[in-house]
């Protein structure tokens, strides 16, 4: 088991180097003089120009620059925002919990609906329910979520006046960040109504962000379940006289989950992509919106650092999924 973990962890090193290379070259691929471009319309005087050139190390050979960059990254120094002058890392740290909270809620939403829907569709193959689930999930899979968010706002916020349009919590509340997760912090604060407000604000973004993963999980669960239900060991389980419920929930689901977990892992990338759009629509103060704002402010250090950090987050989640895969699939664990 330890060997399995170690091999998996060592496999991500090339990916890590690749991501740092991408982030490193990113800022150097900007057409024209990078510092001039960064400065944009703000303009820049010669002294500051020279200072920035030194700061970014543009005066040294490219591989030395990369070496310096890597060692800085490993020390947690990702540079400073050109706009706020705050370290990129501390900005990311402050905003990431908001994105994380949204992403976790979205994936839970997708799992809670997608797994049972896919299972029931598989068990009732070719029923109306099955066709319905498959049709809806294909539509969900094709959904432009930035539009979906606007439509949900239109229906639930404008027409029905049920949910707030933007933000994480009502402006009436000031919540001291403890964990960064507002659902938890609002409970800890003890302020009346704060938790409810946080939940209210989360509903629409969660649905929007969870839609594509929901569709993918439902489709995948169904096809995995169909395959497993035809396996010999399911016949054995029936021959043992086990109840239908136990066969489906224990014997079949456990096996069907193996490909589903892989898919969930792949959805993490989709989730962060979607978070950028979702956060933009709902003015959700997370890293996605932060990155988009950085683009329009030409805040390249933020873009570079943020992209690198998000890449690392996705990479780490993929690693965790890989390890979880080993846990639920004994064949993988023993063979490698």
């Amino acid at each position: 088991m330890l060997r399995f973990i170690l091999t998996r962890v060592s496999l991500i090193i090339p990916t890590f180097i690749g991501i740092t290379l991408l982030a490193f070259f990113l800022i150097r691929l900007v057409p024209g003089d990078p510092i001039e471009t960064m400065a944009g319309e703000r303009g820049i005087d010669a002294a500051r120009h020279e200072q920035l050139r030194k700061e970014f190390g543009f005066d040294k050979p490219i591989f030395v620059q990369y070496g310096v960059y890597i060692s800085r990254v490993l020390q947690g120094d990702l540079g400073k925002s050109l706009v706020t002058q705050a370290p990129v890392w501390s900005e990311f740290k402050a905003l990431f919990p908001a994105t994380m909270e949204l992403a976790i809620c979205a994936i839970l939403f997708a799992l809670v609906l997608g797994l049972p829907a896919g299972m029931i569709a598989a068990i009732r193959r070719n029923s109306i329910f099955d066709h319905g689930v498959m049709g809806i999930s294909l539509a969900g899979y094709s959904m432009p979520i930035f539009w979906w968010g606007l439509i949900l706002i239109l229906v639930f916020s404008v027409q029905l006046d049920l949910t707030p349009v933007s933000g994480r919590i009502d402006v009436l509340y000031y919540i001291e960040p403890v964990t960064g997760f507002l659902l938890i912090d609002s409970l800890l604060s003890g302020e009346e109504g704060a938790f409810a407000s946080a939940v209210e604000h989360l509903i629409l973004p969660t649905i929007v962000l969870g839609t594509v993963p929901l569709a993918v999980i439902a489709r995948m669960t169904r096809s995995a379940m169909l395959e497993v239900l035809g396996e010999d060991y399911i016949r054995t389980a029936k021959a043992k006289g086990l109840s239908r419920y136990r066969i489906i929930v224990l014997h079949a689901l456990r096996n069907a989950l193996i490909p589903v977990v892989t898919v969930i892992g792949l959805q993490v990338g989709v989730l962060f992509t979607g978070a950028i759009l979702t956060e933009t629509i709902f003015s959700w103060p997370g890293v996605g919106k932060w990155l988009i704002d950085a683009i329009f402010r030409r805040d390249y250090p933020v873009l570079q650092g943020g992209a690198l950090l998000l890449g690392i987050v996705v990479m780490s989640v993929n690693l965790l999924v890989d390890l979880a895969y080993g846990l639920i699939n004994p064949r993988i664990r023993h063979n490698r």
Binding site: I19, L22, P144, F146, I276, N318
Partner: protein, 303 residues
């Protein structure tokens, strides 16, 4: 010679003539109602795009603030002159959608063409050369796949500068790995087969092998991936447009239209509803088509 020709009909009678491959393919494909529906929608969208000049009642660009934010014809205040209403600066939404179909199809086809050409070449090179070149190409593709696709596209556009062409390049790069992997896998399975060995023995060069022998044999999965790829491309390009990084106003690109309309969501539902619906329907059609093609071409499902 004579013996063979004499026996052939007898065999044919005994086993009943197998249908022509294309006919067989159509048989499988047309049995899938969703795929046929997708195909019909795509044909419709293509027709609309081609006939945009004839079909569109108004220019997609001419603004007239005196008729701004007119609702669709069935709502009070709407008129048949602007069937789907007008946008905040008085342009006819229907006309913009019609011209937008041109842009969206163009975007989808161009992006996928770039990816297929580049991806197939890289994949063929990786599959044929092996060794360091292969490792380098495939590792790079793995890294691109690890990163969230839209994030990468956003970063690329941020570097190159916002715009339609740059956003298309960015999305093409992001979906590239799928084609590289496909082509390489096809090369590796195909090169182990006898006919390639036979061609090699008879003195065919590597380049000739690549394009004459192997490529025609991996077209089926490439076609499927292309159909699914167009839907991803349209969706991602629209997302970039929505973020203000893709096609720039006043281009009638559906994603860009949504971005323009965003702030009016509270006042005029139609300015946000129709462009998104157009994206959804087109993307859904390509996904249905792709699924149908895959099922019809997948030998595993054929009995």
């Amino acid at each position: 010679m004579t013996a063979e020709t004499m026996e052939a009909p007898a065999v044919a009678v005994a086993t009943a003539t197998p249908p022509h491959p294309l006919r067989e393919f159509w048989g499988y494909f047309s049995a899938n109602k969703g795929a046929v529906a997708g195909l019909i929608v795509i044909i419709l969208v293509v027709t609309v795009a081609l006939l945009a000049d004839v079909l569109a009642p108004h220019s997609p660009y001419v603004t007239d603030t005196s008729i701004a934010l007119k609702p669709p014809f069935w709502q009070e205040g709407g008129s048949l002159a602007f069937p789907l209403g007008t946008d905040p600066i008085g342009r006819d939404i229907l006309s913009r959608l019609i011209y937008g179909s041109r842009l969206s199809l163009l975007i989808g086809v161009v992006i996928v063409s770039i990816s297929i050409v580049l991806g197939t070449v890289l994949g063929l090179v990786a599959g044929f050369t092996r060794g360091m070149t292969e490792i380098f190409i495939m590792r790079l593709m793995d890294i691109v796949l690890t990163l969230p696709s839209l994030l990468l596209a956003i970063v690329i556009v941020a570097v190159l500068g916002p715009g339609l062409v740059n956003s298309m390049l960015a999305v093409a790069l992001v979906i590239l790995p799928h084609y590289v992997r496909l082509a390489r896998a096809a090369v590796i399975t195909e090169t182990s087969k006898d006919y390639v060995t036979a061609a090699r023995v008879s003195g065919a060069g590597t380049l000739r092998l690549m394009f004459k022998e192997v490529l025609p044999n991996c077209t089926a999965p490439l076609i499927v991936q292309a159909s699914l790829g167009i839907s991803t491309a349209i969706l991602d390009a629209a997302a970039l447009g929505f973020l203000g990084l893709g096609a720039q106003p006043p281009a009638p690109e559906w994603g860009t239209m949504l971005a323009d309309a965003r702030e009016f969501v509270l006042r005029a539902w139609w300015v946000v509803t129709f462009p998104g619906l157009a994206i959804l329907i087109t993307v859904l059609a390509f996904n249905l088509l792709g699924d149908g093609l895959r099922d019809a071409l997948d030998p595993k499902l054929k009995r």
